[in-house]
Symmetry: C2
Subunit: 384 residues, 2 copies
C-alpha cells in the first residue's frame, strides 16, 4: 500500500496476486497454467457493499499502470485523462483496478516467466492464450478481491475486446461496459499486420526459436520492426501528414539511408524505445490472442447471440472517425448486435483525425461521453 | 529480335542498351554512372516518321516485361490487359517500349551490378537515385532509339510518378501522359511504410551492410518481411476481407504460430516468392527514390509551376476509390495543378474495392478509360 505525494489523498495499491495450485487458469486451448501470477494496480477504496469497483483492461503493449506514476518510465499512467480526482473514473468514488494481461510482460505470468515445472523461462512452450483467457484471469483476480459485480469494465483497443468478452463470459458480474476503438473480431487486415510483426520477430536470429532468454540475447531488431509496422496503423494518414509531412531531419537530403525524414526518425525511435519495455515473445502471444478473437464464432457467427445473456448490461461503444485499424463499421456491428440482443447500448462516433491512438490522446468529446455514461450508471446504482 | 509463336505477327524486340563512356548518367545527387546499361523490351514497330512510340514505366517491383512472356517466370507480362493485339496499346499501331529502371535488378544498372571502377558489385556504394534519374535514363534510351517525341508515356504507381516527371523534365518530348494510381509526392505514411521495409532488410544479418553478394548470402528473411508489409498496402481492407476474411488454412486453430489463417499463408507466400525475383539493395534504392519524390519541391512547392511548360501535353489521370496508398485526393491534387497550369487533363476516379493493386487487375472501366484516351490522342496525331 502506497500513498504517494503526487496523488495525495488517493488510496493507491498494487502488487502481484499468486493463485494457489488449487486454482489453475484453464485455457481455451485446453492447456492450464498452474501458479498463475497476475500483476495489478488499484486506485481508490472498495466501498462497504463492494459496488464501486471498476476494471480497466489495457491494450496490446500497455500495462496495469493506468494512472499514477509508471514505476519504470517514471511517466504518468496511460489513461490519467480518465482516471484521477475529478476525472470520469474518480478514486474518490470508484475502486479502480487494472491488471496486466496473462501472456504479458509486466508482472503477470507470460512467456518470459519461469515455468514452475522446469524452472526455466516458458518461451514458446507457453500455451497460446486468448482474449477469453485474459478475461478469465481477470475474473479470478476480481473474485479473489471479494468483488462480485463490477460497476464497469472499461477498455480501448484490445482492452475493448476484453470488455466485450467480459459481457459474454460473465454477464452477471458487470453492471456496465465501455468499449472504445475496438472490434468484435480481428479482420483479415488486422491479422495481416500482426503476422508481419511476428515474422519480423521470428526472422531475427537473436529470437532463437523463442528461447532467447536462455542465450542471453534479445530479438531487438525484429521487435523494433514489428513495432514500427504496428505504429503506422495506430495513426491516421492525416495525423502523420500533420505531424511530419515531408519535413526533413536536417537541411537537405542525405542521399543515403539515414533517417532523412522526420517520420523515419520518429518510427525508428518508436521501435528503439519499445524493445526496452516489451518482451518479444509476449508480443507474439498477445497478437495471436487478438487474431484468434472472434466473439461470435462460438455462437454460429451471430454476434447478437453472443450478447444474449448480457441484455442487462449497460453498454457504451465509442469509435473514432479516422481509426482505420478498428474502423467505425466494426463498432456499428457491435451496437447492432447489442440492439438485436435487447441490451442498452449508447454509441458515439467521435470526429477525430488522430487515428486509432485517439483513445489515448486528448479527445475532449471522448472524455465527456465517458463522463456522461459513467455518471449515469453510477446514478442508476446509487453510487452518487 | 524475336518473333514468338504466341504473339504471331507481333514484332517483339528487346535487349540491353549500353551507353558509351561519353554518355554518363548524371544524377540528381551529383554522382554519375558510367557505362550505364538499360534493359528494355519492345512490342510493335516504329513507323517511318517515328510518331507511334509509347513508353511504359513500371512500378516498384515490376520490370520491362509488360507484355509477352516473362523470361524468368514464364508468366504473361504484367500489363497484357492493356498491351497486345486489340488492346488499348496495340503493337499493330504502336511501338511500345518498356525499360527496367536504373537501380533495378532486371538488367539495368543497379546496386547488384558490377561497378566498372572496382569490378565488384556496387552494393551500398551505388549512388542514391531519384525518379528524375530513372526518367533521365529512359530519355537517353528513347533518344538512342532515334525517337524524338513519344506519343504517350504511360504508367501506374511508381510508373505514374515517372510519367509526371517526364512531363516536367521533357515537356517537349511527349504528346500525352497517362498517370494511374500515383501521386506527385510521397506522403508521410508512404515514407513510413517504406522505412519499415528498409529497416526489415537492414536488420537481417545476411544483409551485411549491403555487401551480401560478396559473402554469398542474401537477406531473404528481411526482404520477405518488407514485401509482406508493403503487400498489405497494395490491397484494400475490403479486398483482404473478401479474399480471406478469417478463413483458416486447416480445420481448427493450431494453437501456435503456424499460418492458421489463409491471409497469413498468403502473405508468407508473397514474401517467399518475392525474394526469388528481387534484389534487396534494389528494394532499398527504389523505395528511397520514391520517398524522395516531390515533384513540386524544386518549384517552391507549387505543383502547377512544375507543369507550366507541359501545358501542351494531353494528360489522363486515373485513381481508384479504395486505393489507400495513393488515394484519390493525390490524383485530384495533380489534376488541379494541371488545370492551373493550363494543361488538358482528363480525370477518372474508378469505383473499385481492389485497392492500389487495381491498376494491375481486371478493371474494365480502367481499360475503357485508357482506350478512349489513347484513341483520342492517336486521332489527334493522325495515327489512326
Amino acid at each position: 500500500m502506497t500513498l504517494t505525494a503526487q496523488t495525495q489523498a488517493i488510496h493507491e495499491d498494487g502488487g502481484t496476486w499468486t493463485f494457489p495450485p488449487s486454482q489453475p487458469l484453464v485455457l481455451d486451448s485446453g492447456a492450464r497454467i498452474d501458479g498463475l501470477e497476475i500483476a495489478w494496480r488499484s486506485f481508490g477504496t472498495l466501498n462497504a457493499d463492494k459496488s464501486n469497483a471498476v476494471l480497466i483492461c489495457h491494450a496490446l503493449t500497455l500495462d496495469q499502470h493506468v494512472a499514477g506514476k509508471h514505476p519504470v518510465s517514471g511517466k504518468p499512467g496511460w489513461w490519467t485523462r480518465l482516471v484521477g480526482p475529478g476525472r470520469p473514473l474518480d478514486p474518490a468514488r470508484h475502486f479502480i483496478v487494472c491488471a496486466n494481461v496473462v501472456g504479458g510482460c509486466m508482472g503477470s505470468t507470460g512467456p518470459a516467466s519461469l515455468n514452475p515445472a522446469t524452472g526455466k523461462p516458458w518461451g514458446l512452450s507457453f500455451p497460446v492464450i486468448t482474449i477469453a483467457d485474459m478475461v478469465r484471469a481477470q475474473a479470478m483476480l476480481i473474485e479473489a478481491m471479494g468483488i462480485e459485480t463490477l460497476q464497469a469494465v472499461v477498455g480501448g483497443s484490445m482492452g475493448g475486446m476484453q470488455v466485450l468478452q467480459w459481457a459474454v463470459s460473465y454477464p452477471d458480474r458487470l453492471f456496465s461496459a465501455v468499449c472504445v476503438a475496438a472490434a468484435a473480431r480481428h479482420s483479415a487486415q488486422n491479422i495481416a499486420f500482426h503476422e508481419v510483426g511476428r515474422q519480423a520477430i521470428m526472422a531475427d536470429p537473436d529470437w532463437r526459436g523463442g528461447a532467447y532468454a536462455l542465450h542471453g540475447s534479445r530479438p531487438e531488431k525484429g521487435l523494433a520492426v514489428a513495432r514500427m509496422a504496428a505504429h503506422i496503423t495506430y495513426l491516421s494518414e492525416a495525423a502523420l501528414q500533420r505531424k511530419f509531412g515531408r519535413e526533413l531531419q536536417r537541411d537537405g537530403l542525405s542521399w543515403g539511408f539515414d533517417a532523412d525524414f522526420q517520420v523515419e526518425s520518429y518510427l525508428r525511435h518508436q521501435g528503439a524505445t519499445f524493445v526496452d519495455r516489451f518482451d518479444a515473445n509476449s508480443y507474439l502471444y498477445i497478437t495471436r490472442a487478438m487474431d484468434y478473437f472472434d466473439l461470435a464464432a462460438p455462437y454460429g457467427g451471430v454476434l447478437a447471440e453472443a450478447f444474449r445473456k448480457a441484455r442487462d448490461v449497460r453498454f457504451c461503444v465509442l469509435s473514432f472517425t479516422s481509426d482505420w485499424l478498428y474502423p467505425t463499421p466494426e463498432s456499428r456491428h457491435i451496437v447492432r448486435a447489442l440492439n438485436a440482443a435487447g441490451a442498452r447500448a449508447s454509441f458515439v462516433e467521435i470526429e477525430s483525425d488522430k487515428g486509432h491512438d485517439a483513445f489515448l490522446l486528448d479527445e475532449p468529446v471522448m472524455d465527456s461521453a465517458l463522463a456522461g455514461f459513467l455518471d449515469a450508471v453510477d446514478g442508476a446504482r446509487g453510487l452518487r
